[in-house]
């Protein structure tokens, strides 16, 4: 582990502690929010404990991000192989266009296709999270030093060995940056899942918006924010560690 990583580890651990505390324990919320909003009769979201909402959120983001990263990596590898190269321009165009497509629209399109709940949200998050991974995988694999690749094949590595021993290790920092962006975006976007009944930390936010209860909104937003910063930090450390060999 590098010095830089060791330095970021302590604030990250503190943040993780705070996140666990605020997830498991309602009292701090009640204390702080009732002084901030003395006129509200309920300041803590009553319909589900935060640990359940966090668990639902992790499930949404975890499953969609794992799927998106795997698929993005595979497609990115495929279109940079000799046999898949003809699809590269099309995939590239799709990836950059898809990025401009608002996530709510993806969600709206997914509902009629698969109905309400967990599934359409995972599909929407998957599609949305796929793009950064895909784009970075392609970029990472295409910007490798040609001399290194020539040396690899000149030494008698077969295509699979070149991919696994040379290309992926060298492109990994860029690929990991894509995974990081994709996952962090999905943590935020997943709150929209609450609108179609997927649960998660979007629930208090939506409830707060509808019932005009800012305390609920703050609860959801703070937990989502902490979660996103935490995941970003962890993935940052993982990718830096790899980059430093």
């Amino acid at each position: 582990m590098t010095d830089r990583n060791r330095r970021t580890l302590i604030p990250l651990a503190a943040l993780a502690g705070l996140f666990v505390l605020l997830t498991a324990w309602m009292d701090p919320w009640r204390m702080v929010l009732s002084t901030v909003f003395p006129t509200l009769d309920k300041v803590v979201y009553p319909l589900a404990p935060f640990r359940r909402l966090v668990a639902e959120h992790i499930l949404l983001v975890g499953s969609s991000s794992i799927l998106a990263s795997t698929a993005g990596l595979c497609i990115g590898i495929a279109v940079t192989r000799q046999w898949g190269r003809e699809f590269l321009p099309a995939v590239n165009a799709l990836a950059s266009m898809g990025q401009t497509f608002p996530p709510v629209a993806v969600l709206a399109l997914a509902v009629p296709a698969v109905g309400f709940g967990f599934k359409p949200t995972v599909i929407a998050l998957f599609l949305y999270g796929l793009l950064p991974v895909l784009r970075n995988t392609i970029a990472g694999l295409q910007t490798l030093d040609p001399a290194v690749l020539e040396a690899a094949s000149g030494m008698g590595m077969n295509p699979l060995q070149i991919l696994t021993l040379v290309e992926i290790p060298l492109a990994l920092p860029v690929i990991m940056a894509g995974v990081r962006i994709s996952t962090v975006i999905n943590i935020g976007t997943a709150t929209l899942g609450a609108t179609i009944g997927a649960g998660g930390l979007g629930k208090p936010i939506i409830a707060g918006l509808i019932g005009e209860n800012p305390a609920y909104i703050i609860e959801g937003a703070v937990l989502v924010g902490l979660f996103a910063i935490l995941v970003d930090g962890v993935l940052g450390i993982v990718s830096r560690d790899r980059a430093d060999g």
């Binding site: 290194v148 040396a151 094949s153 000149g154 030494m155 060298l170 060999g245």
Partner: protein, 360 residues
């Protein structure tokens, strides 16, 4: 042995190599040379199947390379390129160990081999083994590049302008180092360059190409004395006589010489000087100290050491393993007709004269 017969390579309408027939014998150092774009790299890369042939055949040790699995074939041939292409995510040891690990050598054998190669290239294993390529100088990186190519002890080495990106001093160091290593290892080498001096210095035989075609295939001496045509003549340049001298070793052209000791009496030394015209004066271990000739005898000194004209050891003594070109250069610079030749310890082993060089 590498045999190219009627090898042709076309890229669309461009003919990169045309009907090339060349044989490289076992243990031979063959240099491919020619102007940029004449098909040197293409030829080299057809040997290890990085580039497919359009027509013709290439045999290595009698087997058509087209019938071999490319990966298998490449693991049996070292390949070195100008831009080195070390794997930046692997240490020096990891880079050198690539082919051994592809061949599934046991770890101990690989480790021993890595250290042996680092030693061979003058890189201390304990300090270089765990470095990353970005921590190496250009010269060190290319040494590792060549070591990596030699890792699994291939009998054939293909090298595409390996020293082309290095500064002149480093390049010369690596050339010298590499020809020493080659003398030890006796590999069959195909080496691409566009530096004629490098070719003359290293090659057993030179293949001159122009626009994909063979122009001349001969020893450096033959190419310098009998260039096949104007193109070759222009390619080797107007100083071809000097270039020829750079292929010749002083020790092969020197002649025995007369010497006296520093402590010898001048009278005794005088007889030798009279007979010979002059004599070199050496001290106890045979190290050259000075020179006696007719004029120095008349000064009235008692010993040869007192009478001699001192010789500048750095400038006026020719090392036995220096080329005749270097010998000539030193003699012209110091205005000498004769110069003593000494071994690496400075001991007199002979003498060389301008006449000897002109007749060489």
């Amino acid at each position: 042995m590498i045999e190219l017969s009627c090898v042709t390579k076309r890229y669309g309408g461009v003919t990169a190599v045309e009907e090339l027939t060349v044989t490289v014998a076992d243990g031979e150092f063959a240099v491919l040379i020619g102007p940029s774009g004449c098909g040197k790299s293409t030829t080299l890369r057809m040997v290890n199947r990085l580039v497919p042939l359009t027509s013709g055949t290439i045999r290595v040790d009698g087997t058509d390379v087209g019938s071999r699995a490319p990966e298998q074939l490449r693991r049996e041939m070292g390949y070195v390129i100008q831009s080195v292409g070390l794997f930046p995510h692997m240490t020096v040891a990891g880079n050198i160990a690539v082919v051994p690990s592809l061949l599934k050598w046991p770890r101990q054998r690989t480790e021993a081999r890595v250290d042996e190669l680092l030693d061979l290239f003058g890189l201390d294993p304990s300090s270089y083994r765990d470095k990353y390529p970005r921590q190496l100088s250009g010269g060190e990186a290319q040494r590792v590049g060549v070591a990596r190519a030699l890792a699994a002890d291939p009998s054939i080495l293909l090298m595409d302008e390996p020293f082309g990106a290095l500064d002149p001093i480093t390049r010369e160091t690596l050339q010298t180092e590499f020809s020493r290593i080659q003398r030890e290892l006796g590999k069959t080498i195909v080496f691409v360059t566009h530096d004629i001096d490098e070719a003359i210095r290293l090659a057993d035989r030179i293949v001159i190409l122009r626009e994909g075609r063979l122009i001349q295939h001969d020893t450096p001496e033959k190419i310098l004395t009998h260039p096949a045509n104007r193109f070759v003549l222009e390619f080797i340049g107007s100083d071809r006589a000097l270039k020829r001298l750079s292929r010749m070793k002083t020790s092969d052209h020197m002649r025995p010489t007369a010497s006296v000791k520093v402590m010898d009496s001048l009278a005794g030394a005088g007889a030798i000087v009279m007979r010979n015209g002059f004599a070199w004066v050496t001290c106890g271990e045979g190290v050259v100290r000075g020179r006696l000739d007719g004029q120095t005898l008349t000064g009235g000194a008692a010993t040869a050491g007192e009478a001699m004209i001192p010789v500048n050891r750095g400038l006026e003594v020719i090392p036995a393993d220096a080329s005749l070109r270097e010998a000539l250069s030193r003699m012209v610079q110091r205005g000498l007709r004769n110069a003593p030749v000494a071994d690496e310890k400075g001991r007199l082993v002979g003498e060389i004269s301008l006449e000897d060089i002109l007749e060489a």
